[in-house]
């Protein structure tokens, strides 16, 4: 496809249009003029013939008068009347000479030739032009055209009176080319005199050029009395006029109008037209280019502006335009420029800034990190990257709602910003993950910063009258020792952070030894699916010992994953991921199926153990769960009373109505329901009272410090009291020593779960432990 400029389109289109009109005009004018010229030529010939005949007639009359005057000359008459033949002949010659007659004849009344100046031998013969003589007799003189000896003459016959007619004088004036030329000058036509013989036409006199005379003899046909005739490539409009019948044959005049001459004014007009048309086209072309440029010039300018906008220049000032449409376009372009600039600024902001905290986002942080690395490399300097991940933020979001979670995130951002130097960069990378860039700090020197950050989390977060304890895990990696680019550094910091979280440390510096672990961690989730399918998971049981009678007839089933390659993987490594991806439901199914199967075996073996299984938030929202549980119980002939399902407070918060429905249906099966990790959330006992739960499990956080912390003791005591008042069984988790057991016993706690009695153990080990425990004294 050819792309042509608007200018050339406009100019070409309108110039072509003009040219077309001019050509059409030219053709029409030419055709009309041609026809008119032809008609004119034919008409001129008709008129010309009239004029020609009139001229001949006038010439005849003039000659007649002249000859008459001559014939009345006394001397002449005297000579004629009295003289002898010689005298008469000389008188005739003399008087003929006076009026330049080419031929003079005298004839008697008896029509015999008395004298002849050209051919004396004709004397005595009969006079040939009797008709002329008769006419002259009637009118006293006559003229006519005759041929004598192959020459054409205008003859004039007048009587000689003395005073009666005594004879006739005939004077002949030869019609030659000269006469024809005179006639041509008067009539404005080419004049030819033609004699008709038996053999054809005989050209007697003509104004035509010699070559055309020859051509004329060949081309003239008998019947053509008018029309076109081409002579030697010259076109004539002709008309043949019969002048006389003579004894030697008829005489015709051929009148010819040169079409070239007739057309000359027309051709001149045509030339003028062509010149005018060319001038018009040139003027039009120039004007068109100028006008088109005035249209396209601003367009080109605007196109240039648009192009510069495309290149990111939003600060252009647009020249004012004098054309309305162009001005409109320019205005639109100006607005567009502003709008694009604003939008781009907004997009840039969105692209590089975290809207929640106002901190740089991951993308921006990566840029900053790259720049910082480049600078550090250049100055042979070092830097440290910190990664900070909030603990249990998911639960905060789940239990308190996203608005609260967002406020926590914003507050964390503020605190981080306060905790670092001005030149340090704080960014929020995702969800609950932050990063800090410490330029010019060796990773080994970053501990003080880490410590400072850690201390900011000591202050509890005040949120709408509630206080919230937020903790975080931190990892640090340094340039140049741990990585040469941003990606590597961040990965290292990430590994260090996870290692810290897993090990319960508040922070950890990266160690190259972490690399292998990190890699296994990443593939964990994929492996988990295989683990469920291939039964790589296994259940451990931790006893829940009754404080009233010391019996260990209850246990919490805890899932364990023995990876074929990596060995033992703690639940903290994969359960959160499973919960986030939704795969937890498969895990829960697996756990329920196996726990119920195991419990069913123990019931069948005659020493039934009441098994507790943890449900995740997602499980609580699954309306199919009660039916599945009922089916499993039936399948394994397990009485529902030996099954307890543990739920967390946060699990209830997401969709309380739906969760309550699921809980009611589960409770209706006859099994027990326990609130796990009680005290970490915000649910009041008044709320719990409305739930179909039978058991409260006090979170280990309150239990661990119980012996040393009065506040915790008070919380635990009141929890136990209130639970009992609501008819709930109260269980304490994470009990590690006997003093705590004693305190809890004194407080009236119903059961205890913890290392003080036994770690989670495989089913057979649990059975052995139970037998030993039963045998040992309380």
């Amino acid at each position: 496809m050819r792309i042509r400029s608007l200018t050339s389109r406009i100019v070409v289109f309108f110039t072509s249009l003009l040219a077309l009109v001019l050509v059409a005009t030219f053709v029409l004018v030419s055709v009309a003029n041609l026809r008119i010229s032809r008609q004119n030529a034919a008409h001129e010939l008709v008129t010309g013939e009239r004029i020609f005949r009139r001229l001949l007639e006038q010439q005849g009359q003039q000659l007649t008068q002249a000859v008459s005057a001559l014939a009345t000359d006394y001397g002449f008459r005297q000579a004629i009347g009295t003289g002898d033949t010689d005298t008469i002949a000389s008188a005739l010659a003399n008087h003929g000479g006076r009026i330049k007659a080419d031929l003079v004849m005298l004839s008697r009344l008896d029509n015999t030739i008395q004298a002849d100046t050209v051919k004396p031998e004709r004397v005595g013969k009969s006079y040939p032009f009797v008709d002329l003589l008769a006419k002259a007799g009637e009118r006293g003189g006559a003229s006519g055209i005759e041929r004598i000896d192959g020459k054409l003459y205008q003859l004039v016959v007048v009587p000689v009176r003395a005073p009666i007619v005594i004879g006739w004088v005939t004077m002949g004036f030869e019609i030659n080319d000269e006469i024809a030329a005179d006639l041509k000058a008067l009539a404005g036509l080419q004049v030819s005199f033609l004699g008709r013989n038996q053999g054809g036409w005989n050209l007697l006199a003509s104004t035509l050029p010699p070559a055309q005379r020859i051509a004329l003899n060949g081309t003239l046909s008998d019947r053509q009395m008018a029309g076109r005739l081409a002579l030697e490539e010259e076109d004539y409009e002709i008309r043949l006029a019969k002048l006389a019948d003579t004894p030697e044959g008829p005489i015709h005049a051929l009148l010819a109008r040169s079409l070239k001459e007739a057309m000359a004014p027309f051709y001149a007009l045509q030339g003028t037209l062509v010149v005018l048309a060319l001038v018009a086209i040139v003027v039009f072309l120039l004007a068109g280019i100028r006008i088109a440029s005035r249209i396209t010039g601003p367009l080109r300018d605007l196109a240039g502006v648009a192009e510069r906008i495309q290149q990111g220049d939003y600060q252009q000032t647009l020249a004012t335009q004098d054309t309305r449409e162009i001005a409109q376009l320019a205005g639109s372009l100006a607005h567009m420029q502003t709008a694009i600039a604003e939008r781009e600024a907004e997009i840039t902001k969105l692209a590089f800034q975290d809207p929640l905290t106002g901190l740089p986002n991951r993308v921006r942080f990566n840029q900053l990190l790259d720049e910082a690395i480049a600078r550090a490399r250049e100055h042979d300097d070092s830097l440290t990257v910190l990664l900070i991940n909030l603990d249990r933020f998911q639960q905060i979001n789940d239990t308190l709602g996203h608005p609260t979670g967002d406020r926590v995130l914003a507050l964390v951002g503020e605190r981080l910003r306060e905790a670092v130097r001005f030149e340090d960069q704080v960014a929020r990378l995702s969800g609950d993950e932050y990063a800090v860039l410490l330029p010019g700090v060796q990773v080994g020197q970053s501990l003080s910063t880490l410590e400072r950050i850690h201390r900011t989390f000591d202050r509890r977060f005040e949120l709408g009258g509630r206080t919230l304890d937020v903790r975080a895990g931190m990892g640090a990696a340094g340039f140049p020792e741990h990585g040469q680019n941003a990606t590597d550094l961040l990965r290292c910091a990430d590994m260090a952070m996870y290692r810290a979280k897993r090990s319960g440390e508040p922070q950890m510096l990266y160690d190259p030894g972490m690399q292998s672990f990190r890699e296994e961690h990443l593939s964990l989730l994929g492996d988990l699916q295989q683990a469920v399918e291939r039964n790589e998971l296994t259940l451990y049981y931790q006893p829940k010992v009754s404080l009233a009678d010391g019996r260990a007839d209850e246990a919490e089933a805890l899932v364990r994953w023995i990876h074929p390659d990596k060995g033992f993987i703690p639940p903290g490594e994969f359960i959160p991921f499973a919960e986030q991806t939704g795969y937890i439901r498969e895990v829960t199914r697996w756990v329920l199926a196996h726990a119920i199967a195991q419990a069913g075996q123990w019931v069948a073996a005659g020493h039934p153990i009441k098994i507790s299984v943890n449900l995740s938030t997602r499980d609580l929202l699954d309306p199919g769960l009660p039916d599945q549980v009922a089916a499993l119980l039936a399948q394994h002939a397990m009485p529902a009373q030996y099954l307890c399902l543990e739920i967390t407070e946060s699990g209830l918060m997401e969709d309380p109505g739906r969760a309550l429905d699921v809980l009611n249906r589960l409770r209706a099966l006859g099994l027990s329901l326990a609130i796990d990790d009680y005290g970490t959330g915000y649910s009041s006992l008044a709320y719990i009272r409305r739930l179909p739960v039978t058991e409260l499990k006090i979170d280990r956080a309150f239990v661990i410090e119980l012996a040393h912390n009065d506040g915790d003791a008070q919380i635990v005591q009141s929890t136990i009291d209130l639970g009992h008042r609501l008819g709930l069984k109260v269980v304490a988790e994470g009990v590690e020593d006997q003093p705590t057991v004693a305190i809890l016993a004194r407080m009236g706690c119903d059961r205890i779960q913890g290392y003080v009695f036994g770690k989670p153990m495989p089913a057979d080990a649990f059975v052995r432990w139970q037998q030993e425990h039963a045998a040992s004294p309380a």
């Binding site: 009345t72 005297q78 004629i80 009295t82 009666i164 007619v165």
Partner: protein, 206 residues
């Protein structure tokens, strides 16, 4: 006519003594209508014609010759009195007597003597239409017909004559009649003549 009467009387007187016979001739056209101004004359065959009156006048009146037709005997002197107040130039190219009276007014001093027989046409060089015809005969016995076509030749002596008629407009000459005059012989004769007047050759009104 009046002038013609005198010689006739003389002839009549002279023939009283020698048995004179009065001759009358009537000229009619083909349709039987009488023709006037036709010259009738008798030429004697047996004797030499005697001399008659040898003078004649042709007037020019109102730019015309008067009379148009004239007949005289050979040897007659004709005078051309000009009665107009303009001048005339009388001429003739006729063979019997070519002459030229240069422009004149009144009566020329000497008349022109016509001494040969024949026809003479007279003209005026400055008035082309003026024409007069003159027949010169070798006999004294001649007359022109009157309105009734009658010409009276007078008393002719007995003898043989050729009787002829002439008119300038005659289509062709009428054959002459041989007559014998004597006592008791017929003296009245008749001619038939066809005249073809020439086309008007001019307009003397300009």
């Amino acid at each position: 006519m009046r002038h013609a009467r005198l010689p006739r009387l003389l002839v009549v007187l002279s023939s009283i003594c020698a048995l004179a016979v009065p001759v009358e001739v009537q000229v009619l056209d083909a349709a039987g209508k009488p023709l006037d101004e036709v010259v009738v004359y008798a030429e004697p065959l047996s004797a030499k014609a005697p001399k008659g009156k040898l003078s004649h006048i042709i007037d020019q009146v109102d730019k015309e010759f008067v009379p148009l037709v004239n007949v005289v005997q050979v040897g007659t002197a004709i005078s051309f009195p000009n009665k107009d107040n303009i001048r005339h130039n009388i001429y003739s190219f006729s063979a019997p007597k070519p002459f030229d009276l240069k422009l004149y007014s009144g009566t020329p001093s000497s008349p022109v003597v016509f001494d040969k027989p024949g026809q003479v046409v007279l003209g005026c060089n400055i008035h082309d239409w003026m024409v007069s015809y003159l027949l010169i005969v070798d006999t004294p016995w001649f007359d022109k017909t009157d309105a009734r076509g009658m010409a009276r030749l007078g008393e002719l002596p007995a003898g043989e004559y050729e009787l002829k008629v002439w008119h300038p407009y005659q289509a062709s000459a009428a054959p002459a009649q041989k007559i014998k005059l004597g006592s008791g012989a017929a003296s009245a004769f008749a001619f038939r003549l066809k005249l073809t007047p020439p086309p008007a050759s001019g307009n003397h009104n300009y």
